[in-house]
């Protein structure tokens, strides 16, 4: 068996793990590191339940080998909240009922967080395109899109329109 030592940062913590060459990154994250928030769904690169952030980009961790993470910076769903405070995307999923069973949610939130980091004001179409590699089979996408829009408003608030609206009578 070909074992290697792999060093990477995950959720801000430096880790050094032993991994067989053929071990998939998602299995290293879940089984070696015990971070089970990242899910294994289809195992065929379709569903996106295993999505993690790799050096700033969302990728499917079931379609990478753990050894490829050498020197990389990884973020999983466990790393989204800071100091016990939900990040805006997580808060959006909470407020807008963006989940039911929750299976796709970690991947959805990683993808959405990466989107909002690079695009300040995504349109609904851009949001839907961004999450097109993350499949939800129960909530439906309406509330997921609303959750991401909530996060967008929270991160980039526009000036309140009240002054205009209340100017009538």
């Amino acid at each position: 068996m070909s074992m290697r030592t792999v060093n990477f940062t995950i959720n801000g913590e430096a880790k050094s793990v032993q991994a067989e060459s053929r071990q998939l990154l998602v299995h290293c994250i879940r089984e070696t590191l015990g971070l089970t928030g990242t899910h294994v769904g289809c195992e065929t690169s379709h569903c996106g339940a295993c999505t993690i952030d790799l050096d700033g980009e969302p990728v499917k961790s079931c379609t990478m080998f753990a050894v490829q993470a050498e020197g990389k910076s990884l973020t999983t769903v466990e790393g989204l909240a800071v100091g016990g405070t939900l990040n805006p995307v997580q808060e959006g999923f909470w407020e807008e009922h963006g989940l039911q069973c929750g299976f796709c949610t970690p991947g959805m939130m990683i993808t959405a967080t990466a989107l909002l980091r690079t695009v300040n004001e995504p349109t609904e179409t851009e949001i839907r395109e961004a999450i097109s590699g993350n499949l939800c089979r129960c909530t439906g996408y309406v509330n997921i899109v609303k959750a991401i829009q909530y996060a967008q408003r929270k991160m980039h608030p526009t000036p309140a329109p009240e002054a205009v609206l209340q100017g009538g009578d």
Partner: protein
Amino acid sequence: MIPAAFEYVVAHSLEETVGLLAKHGSDAKILSGGMSLIPAMKLRLAQPAFIIDVNGVSGLEYIREEHGELRIGAMTREAALERSTLVKHGYPILFETARVIADPLVRNRATIGGNLAHADPANDHPATMLALGATIVAHGPNGDRLIPIDEFFPSFFASALEPDEILTEIRIPAPGVRNGGAYIKFERKVGDYAIAAVAVNLTLDAHDTCIAARIGLTNVTDVPARASSAEASLVGHRITDQAIADASRLAAHQSDPKSDLRGSAEYKRDLVRVLAGRAIGRAVSRARGGSH
């Protein structure tokens, strides 16, 4: 879904890569984006004894125009092609191709070189590169070798790369005056392979006569192929609705789809006709200077 065991080697230079390929021959596979290779390994359709990871080889991710060509490094990710303003405005056919490959998460890893070297007739870049008349740069023990795209797909799931060569660059002729291209794909859902897709690249003269045309087909032939009879029917003729309809029928006739879960052969063949008509129409519009 666990791949068979293999030896993992990280290459840091092209020379090191070629040396490893020469040593291990067909037992070795190059890992670039891994978006085709790793799924194939999980299904044990591929069981390479050695994996040579070239993600550590620098200088293979670039998109630039030089010497009258668009030159793309083989390790360029599909997401980078999608984001490139040079590609979007100068080569809309390539932009249209990159953005319909798999899904955005896959495109963050997938590379253009891997898409071509995998030589899958269901992949999207082969048809587009056939339409664009691209040249593939292969690097081996004796340096670079240029392979015309028309010679790059010799047989089913095979490329013209020698076992000790690695694909390093794709060269696309810069579009001339009144040149336009389009790629139109029909898929069941995001992330699926095309039921069928058609790539068209053509040039018109000042009187709207077609003076050059190349048409590539996706997932309706055993190897990535051109619809040569459709091309021939366009060249030398003014582009009319009738000419487009005739060429589309010829493209459908030249396709050879198989019935499967994505549809019957008859359905797919007619889809080629419809998509070819739309792609030719869009390419003509672009060649005339119309909107993208």
